[in-house]
């Protein structure tokens, strides 16, 4: 059941991407798009997509919106902070590679977490091993696991936990 609905979501996403890309809803254009999307959906039935495991609950929809909003505001803050550092003649950095623990188990949720960490305030995921994320931190506020987990992971994890359970 969930396999079928994942495939359906993948098919719909591909078709929307195709229509955005071709910028036309003429019959022949859409027909080619349907064929291509169907083909890709069929050959990737057993692989993961961003939808596998995303829970179809009202609160998970809300969490997705909250996640996107939180992510965008963090992205802007990250850039302003980084701009200040790069423009400062003294280059005030305190780099460290720290460990942060995540409670997420779903692979897609972990991928989104690692991606979000990479795009936000001075942090870059270097490696994931089991529940540990190794993160490079440009201005480290501490090198112990607890500080790193609190400062880096928890903000995003809140939303992802609801989205992927």
């Amino acid at each position: 059941m969930s396999q079928a609905s994942d495939s359906l979501k993948l098919f719909a996403t591909l078709l929307v991407a195709w229509i955005l890309l071709s910028g036309s809803i003429a019959f022949d254009v859409v027909a080619v798009g349907v064929a291509a999307a169907l083909f890709i959906t069929l050959i990737s039935q057993n692989s993961l997509s961003a939808f596998s495991g995303l829970r179809a609950l009202p609160q998970s929809f809300g969490a997705s919106l909250g996640y996107v909003g939180f992510f965008l505001s963090e992205l802007v803050r990250a850039n302003l902070r980084m701009a200040k550092i790069v423009l400062d003649p003294a280059l005030p950095i305190r780099p460290a590679i720290v460990r942060a623990r995540t409670e997420l188990t779903h692979p897609v949720a972990r991928l989104l977490l690692a991606n979000s960490i990479t795009l936000t305030p001075g942090t870059l995921s270097v490696e994931i091993k089991d529940e540990w994320l190794y993160v490079h931190w440009v201005v480290a506020e501490g090198t112990d696991n607890e500080t790193a987990t609190r400062e880096i992971v928890e903000g995003f994890e809140r939303y992802l936990k609801v989205m992927y359970g």
């Binding site: 990250a78 980084m82 091993k129």
Partner: protein, 113 residues
């Protein structure tokens, strides 16, 4: 191109994006080691690209669908490639710059061997 208020706003958004692209280049140039360079390079350039695309979309609303695709693509691939590069750097044995406070990954690798 006409000089309406919408075009002006779009052009200013493009300008802000270009400023971030410049900062990304500056970060790549100034940062002392590869990890900090990846940080400066990916963050500034992602927001920079996003703003440039958005600004162009404001000036040319008809181009928006394709620009949104480009934005989504950049948002997903940019962090992925920086992560893969950071991991490659660490596995290839490139040490962080002197003065780095801690390298837990190197410590844990040492434990296992």
């Amino acid at each position: 191109m006409t000089d309406g208020p919408l075009e002006l706003i779009g052009a200013l958004v493009v300008l802000a994006g270009a400023a971030f692209l410049f900062l990304g280049g500056l970060g790549l140039f100034r940062m002392p080691d590869i990890y900090n360079r990846i940080q400066a390079g990916t963050k500034a350039t992602t927001l920079g690209t996003l703003l440039v695309m958005l600004g162009v979309g404001i000036i040319m609303p008809g181009w928006l669908p394709k620009l949104i695709l480009v934005i989504l693509f950049v948002l997903f691939t940019n962090p992925l490639s920086s992560q893969v590069l950071a991991r490659a750097a660490h596995r290839a044995g490139i040490a962080p710059v002197l003065g780095t406070l801690a390298d837990r990954l190197a410590e844990d690798k040492g434990d296992q061997s």
